[in-house]
């Protein structure tokens, strides 16, 4: 394999290859079957090494046991309701069947409520987050975000944008809209997502800049003028050091370990502008609205935060980057 191609493969496995690099690597591999085979050789060993060398899989075991417990709970719920209804309906067989049917509907609803979490979900003290993503299984960046949210004490319900319904947000501490939600081969999702969450009374944390306008958080909808995801960035400038969203940080802060994209939006004076792009003080990369604040599109029905992440960039967050992420999550979810 040529040295240049080898370097691309190394960066790809290391998680530091940007979208352009991935595309270039894909084209090289498409044209060269031997290089493609060598890449997949490398990929297979790379991905097997972690589970092979891991000394404890206890977190994984716990997640499976939690899932099978949920299955058991759903079954017991169903049986229990049917039993109770049969016991109370006397000898009327027709009545029993009617009530049993109703019980099955109730059981299905109960099961859906229990299962709504999908994989690895549980109720935790900090509440639950609905994480809206492009696809399941989770992309690497979304998986890292999910892990982080769980480490903050949240249960996480991850759902693909195409399957999510407005009621999925009900009762949640936070709705998190990942930029991967719009990265798939789907054209009508932006409008659908807007309709689902624009007026939601649940706090929304969003790192898909295409949704900033649709959610009423910025005043214009023109790409590169009103919003965008600027590449080759690793730092941001904090502009409101007193606000809890800065978590005590100030000045110019490295949020990525290397050049990556920062999502930004052109906000008006009514936004809490917490951080901007370097050299672009009008382009906010971390901004927020409190409940009841006037936003360009509507009065905020609950807290809203626009965040700088983009697709897989969570994989490259520095400790300061995670500090800002944590602060955004905590502040946004705090009103519930």
């Amino acid at each position: 394999m040529r040295e240049e191609l080898e370097a691309l493969v190394q960066d790809c496995l290391d998680g530091t290859l940007d979208a352009e690099g991935r595309d270039r690597l894909a084209r090289e591999l498409e044209a060269d079957p031997a290089a493609r085979a060598e890449f997949v050789d490398q990929l297979q060993i790379h991905q097997r090494l972690r589970p092979t060398l891991e000394t404890s899989g206890s977190a994984f075991v716990d997640s499976v046991v939690r899932e099978v417990r949920l299955l058991g709970d759903a079954e017991r719920f169903s049986k229990g309701v049917v039993h109770e209804i049969k016991r109370s309906t006397g000898s009327s067989r027709r009545r029993v069947w009617e009530m049993a049917a109703a019980a099955m509907i109730l059981a299905a609803v109960g099961f859906a409520l229990i299962q709504r979490g999908g994989s690895g979900t549980s109720a935790r003290p900090a509440g639950q987050v609905l994480l809206v993503v492009g696809r399941m299984p989770l992309e690497a960046g979304d998986a890292r975000v999910k892990e982080r949210l769980e480490s903050l004490g949240f249960g996480v319900v991850a759902k693909p944008a195409l399957q999510v319904v407005p009621s999925d947000g009900a009762g949640k501490a936070l709705i998190a809209l990942s930029s991967t939600a719009l990265a798939m081969d789907v054209t009508d999702v932006p409008g659908e997502l807007t309709a689902k969450f624009r007026d939601s009374g649940v706090p929304v944390l969003v790192w898909e800049p295409r949704l900033f306008y649709d959610l009423g958080m910025i005043g214009g909808k023109e790409h590169q003028k009103d919003w965008g995801a600027l590449k080759d960035q690793s730092r941001l400038v904090l502009t409101d050091p007193a606000h809890p969203l800065t978590a005590g940080l100030s000045g110019t802060v490295p949020v990525y370990s290397g050049p990556n994209r920062l999502s930004w939006g052109l906000v008006r004076g009514d936004a809490i502008k917490v951080a901007t792009l370097e050299g672009h003080p009008d382009r906010a990369v971390l901004f927020a609205y409190d409940r009841g604040a006037s936003m360009p599109g509507l009065v905020a029905p609950a807290r809203r935060v626009g965040l700088f992440l983009f697709d897989t960039t969570a994989l490259h967050l520095t400790p300061q980057g995670w500090t800002l992420f944590d602060a955004a999550v905590r502040w946004c979810a705090a009103e519930k």
Partner: protein
Amino acid sequence: MAQSTRVDHLDDALRRAQGGDPDAYGAVVAAYQARLRSFIAGYVPRAAWVDDLAQQSFVSAYQSLNAFRVGTDFYAWLRQIAYNHLRAELERTNRRKRLEADYLEQISAAELGRRLDREPAEEDALEALRDCVSRLPDTSRRIVQRHYAEGCPLAEIAGDLGRPAGSIKVTLFKIRARLRECIEKKRAAAEPGVS
């Protein structure tokens, strides 16, 4: 004797799991998770899929557990369930519309799908790789351990070794190629008539 005790213990756990005991199933998951995740990890284009697919496989197995005959090979049964999930996921990836951002994933998924069908069902990728890692020279083994087992970033490893980060990437590339060769040799030696 120890092996027989372990099998008895797992058979007992499987029987209790069939009776609806999630904790007993936890013991079964603990016993097989590393091997199953290692198998799955070899055939997915993204590491993030590994645990999701492994979890789906264990949950599916639990849901069908009464169809399993205790005393027969549980891992072979579980692996077939995981194979079905993997195959379905790779096919879904291949069917997706070609997009720039996903194209590398698609190319990888197509090749991985071809390899999935060729891997011998009885192969233990976990043990083979563990053994090959143990045969690496000390420094190489330490780099692999720190990066993959401890999650240490390459830049930090490079700093500790007093080498540029780029040279550690090249070293890791060569180590992975060496591990691949080692596994191929093991596979060839295991083929009938070769050893």
